[in-house]
């Protein structure tokens, strides 16, 4: 709580300092002088500010449901109203109202599910046959997409259940760093559970322990109840 308050105060202080610095810049630059703005600076200002605003528009769209058509429809309405009537407040209210109602009424196109997860109920499950999202096999991309669409917040720890017989550490590393972290889920934890305790996994591959595991050109028969750990080929002479 206190940490958050200190952080918020720091953010506000930085925002205020930069804003005030920008506002007082001309008064500092031309202190004691009476001449006006050089025309080159005026032209630069007229050119640079639309570019900045355009960049901000693109950036802020990424926080919306940008994969759907709704933000673009609402944006088109906002721009059209502004061109037609020129009343900023009316354009903003109309655009926002359209976006909010589109999200509300046509929510079927976007995901309205909000998934909850904790260490006892991980959404993700890594098995030898692939990755599962809520008992459904998905690609890693799809898994991350479902987390995002399911409104799983980015600041919580993502728990991933890893089967005992899954020994591809590199694949886990790749999933953690190339998929979860890149999507903003920087905190994740592996949940190792015995196969007997995880009910859903057994239904899919009941006879997994009897299966042959190819490794380094050799075939190793995995005995039931015994875990094979291969970290690096050099560790297995």
């Amino acid at each position: 709580m206190l940490e958050k308050a200190v952080y918020t105060a720091a953010v506000v202080a930085v925002a205020w300092a930069v804003t005030f610095g920008l506002r007082s810049l001309p008064f500092l630059l031309f202190a004691g002088r009476s001449r006006d703005l050089p025309p080159s600076v005026e032209r630069f200002g007229a050119f640079v500010s639309p570019v900045i605003i355009a960049g901000l528009i693109v950036y802020s769209y990424s926080a919306l449901e940008w994969r759907t058509a709704w933000p673009y429809l609402a944006g088109a309405l906002t721009v059209a109203l502004q061109l037609w009537k020129g009343n900023p407040l009316a354009s903003i209210i109309a655009g926002t109202a359209l976006y909010m109602s589109l999200l509300g009424f046509c929510g079927c196109a976007t995901s309205t599910v909000a998934y909850e997860q904790d260490i006892a109920h991980p959404l993700l499950h890594v098995t030898r046959n692939g990755m599962k999202f809520m008992d459904e096999y998905v690609t890693p991309e799809e898994a991350v997409r479902r987390l995002e669409n399911g409104k799983v917040p980015k600041d919580v720890t993502i728990y991933v259940q890893v089967d005992e017989d899954f020994d591809d550490q590199r694949a886990l590393w790749v999933f953690k760093n190339n998929y979860l972290s890149r999507a903003g889920y920087t905190r994740s934890a592996w949940v190792h559970r015995r196969r007997a305790e995880s009910g859903s996994a057994d239904k899919v591959d009941r006879n997994l322990n009897e299966r042959k595991i190819p490794f380094e050109g050799r075939t190793i028969r995995q005995e039931p109840g015994k875990r094979i750990v291969h970290t690096h080929p050099s560790a297995n002479p």
């Binding site: 810049l25 703005l37 500010s49 802020s60 209210i93 655009g95 600041d155």
Partner: protein
């Protein structure tokens, strides 16, 4: 710098009242805009900002960073826990235009007591600046009196709107899904107006 008194006792009371009335009447459209925009920003901060005591922070933000766009843009930064450097860069990008506002006020505000000048510069936001520029009072002291009232009134509207919005957002279950579009709409409106001006001059 000339020796200018910070007081306005040399302006006749009836004239001061007239200037205040003029400032107030001219600021009425800004009252409508600032209270509603501030309300939206306050609701957004308390619903999406993820900060404890959102109304208090809304008050602090609206009184220090008197900038509508920044009040919206600071919310995702706070929610995601952005680094201070990226907040500084974001502010720089969004509020870069303010660096050009002061240039046109250099001449008119040349001989103003430091504390009053500090307040005028501190609250030099878009609409407030537009009202300053639109003011046609020739006498420099009366112009200063007008500007001070204009800035004080508009800043008060903004603080009032944001704080009440944050209180409402924290207390009531307002429909908030999609409210973040207000900021994008604000950018779109600013950009549209800039393009309008650009093609008119070209």
């Amino acid at each position: 710098m000339q020796n200018v008194s910070p007081r306005f006792s040399h302006i006749a009371p009836f004239e001061r009242r007239a200037i205040f009335r003029r400032a107030f009447v001219n600021s009425l459209p800004v009252l409508m805009g600032y209270v509603t925009m501030g309300f939206a920003a306050g609701v957004l901060l308390s619903v999406k900002g993820g900060v404890p005591f959102a109304p208090l922070w809304s008050l602090v933000i609206s009184a220090t960073v008197i900038s509508g766009t920044m009040s919206f843009a600071i919310v995702p930064a706070l929610a995601q826990g952005d680094s201070l450097l990226s907040v500084a860069l974001l502010t720089l990008g969004i509020n870069f235009r303010y660096a050009f506002y002061g240039f046109s006020m250099l001449g008119r505000w040349r001989s103003i007591p430091l504390l009053q000048k500090w307040f005028l510069v501190h609250s030099l936001a878009d609409e407030i600046y537009a009202l300053d520029v639109a003011c046609r009072i020739k006498d420099s002291d009366k112009h200063r009196y007008y500007c001070l009232w204009n800035h004080a009134l508009c800043a008060a509207y903004w603080v009032l709107g944001s704080t009440s919005g944050a209180v409402a957002g924290a207390a009531l279950p307002l429909p908030s899904k999609g409210i973040e579009f207000a900021m994008v709409a604000l950018f779109l409106v600013i950009f549209t107006d800039q393009m309008k001006g650009f093609f008119r001059h070209a």
